[in-house]
């Protein structure tokens, strides 16, 4: 279990860099990188884990589907929307504003979660 989580975090870093490059933030000095935070939500057994995740503003949250059944991660207020995530597929979203972001799996709507951005 532990090993897998570490691996996920390892993947999230290149994703973050990719996002920064895409955003055209070429003026951002290289030493700004450590301030960019990342957090992981694992979808396992039809549950978002952790169900509520609290992160600082600017954090990129990455959802990974560990189930054999596809899931989605979709904001109930239309803030973010993943594509359908098949097994081991990921979705990332960077939260730039403080607030509470409830979300759910549109395929299995009993699956709900919350991202609290402070």
């Amino acid at each position: 279990m532990k090993k897998k989580q570490v691996w996920i975090a390892g993947v999230a870093v290149p994703v973050l860099i990719g996002i920064m490059l895409l955003a055209g933030t070429s003026s951002v000095p290289a030493n700004a990188e450590p301030t960019a935070a990342s957090a992981a939500v694992k979808i396992d057994n039809f549950v978002f884990g952790p169900q509520t995740i609290t992160v600082p503003v600017g954090t990129t949250v990455t959802w990974t589907n560990a189930d054999d059944i596809p899931h989605t991660s979709v904001s109930t207020e239309g803030v973010f929307k993943s594509k359908v995530l098949d097994t081991d597929e990921k979705f990332s979203y960077t939260f730039t504003k403080a607030g509470t972001y409830p979300y759910y799996c549109t395929i299995h709507p009993k699956m709900t979660g919350k991202v609290v951005v402070q």
Binding site: N45, T87, I107
Partner: protein, 325 residues
């Protein structure tokens, strides 16, 4: 079948068998021979039997007509416990084709595909093409509407239907209604029919004689089997209130990949097995939603052992099964 796969199935069936009812052999056969339910309409009373196990030569005798329900093909799924769901669907179709009394039609109660991919629908079409049934009626499962709000599904399988794919038809005096309860699902909820469809249903049934046998079919159960896993439909009560006045109502569902039956007044509810892979009995495995009790406690807490399976001939019945009270 490879030993590893067989062991997995045996384990699953063992788990399913915790209530002590001897139906292991039955389920095993159902799960791997490709499954379906044969429905025989006799004097307006539908009688079901699982055809996977020794379909008798006298089956269907004296029947007004026969139709078959298949469900949850999940074409594209390729993981344990079934890496080849196309083959098991093919087996199901072969069984249907071998039936002594040809079914008038097939009803597929959804989850045709695993990921709504065109290639998956293509494969399904290819297999279903080999069926001897003249007609196949479909309702979508949630897996068939994963992208594009189900537009592709509608183009392929929903011609002539309304809304997200609902429709009705009459066959030899029986009124069939296919409902969609997998579209526009709300956070925290279960299956949903929605007001537009409910209104349509009310009008569709209006003016029909109470002696008309009614068959409702939809993907997610129209009775609440297990809310914690979303195994139910939030507004099904409204739909069922419209069929109360009819003398014979049969509700056919899929989604839960196992047979369950319940009789409530003049309404009998049935769910079909999947042609693809079995799912655990309600509460018998760790699962969806805000379930916080250990899996081995669930059955006690939620009264899962109160599910009474009656083994009758080759079919299973659940009579009055309040799983969560």
């Amino acid at each position: 079948m490879p030993d590893k796969k067989k062991d997995l199935i045996d384990q699953t069936l063992q788990d399913l068998n915790n209530d002590g009812v001897d139906r292991r052999g039955f389920l095993k056969c159902m799960a791997w021979a490709g499954t379906g339910l044969v429905w025989t309409m006799s004097g307006g009373i539908p009688v079901s039997r699982a055809f996977a196990k020794g379909y008798g030569k006298d089956a269907g005798k004296g029947a007004d007509f026969t139709f078959v329900q298949i469900s949850d093909s999940h074409i594209g799924f390729n993981k344990p416990a079934n890496p080849d769901v196309t083959a098991t669907l093919q087996t199901a179709i072969d069984k249907i084709n071998a039936m002594p009394q040809k079914p008038d039609f097939i009803i597929h109660t959804g989850d045709l595909s695993q990921l709504s991919k065109p290639s998956e629908f293509d494969t399904l079409d290819q297999v279903l093409k080999g069926s001897s049934a003249k007609q196949i009626y479909f309702v979508p499962g949630e897996h068939d509407m994963l992208t594009d709000n189900g537009e592709q599904y509608l183009q392929r399988y929903g011609k002539g239907t309304k809304g997200t794919g609902w429709s009705s038809f009459d066959h030899k005096g029986v009124h069939f209604v296919g409902l969609v309860n997998v579209a526009n699902l709300k956070a925290g909820g279960m299956g949903s029919l929605g007001n537009e469809q409910l209104e349509w249903l009310e009008n569709d049934l209006k003016g029909r004689s109470a002696s008309t046998p009614i068959v409702l079919f939809a993907h997610i159960p129209l009775w609440t089997i297990y809310p914690d896993w979303g195994w139910g439909t939030d507004d099904s009560e409204q739909a069922l209130s419209y069929v109360k006045r009819f003398g014979s109502v049969t509700v056919l569902n899929g989604h839960i990949h196992q047979i369950m039956q319940k009789v409530e007044g003049k309404v009998s509810f049935h769910t079909a097995m999947s042609t693809a892979f079995p799912q655990p009995a309600p509460g018998s495995a760790p699962s969806a939603g805000p379930m916080k009790v250990p899996a081995d406690q669930l059955q006690k807490v939620l009264g899962i052992t109160d599910v009474n399976y009656l083994v009758s001939g080759r079919s299973l019945a659940v009579v009055d099964s309040p799983l969560v009270t």
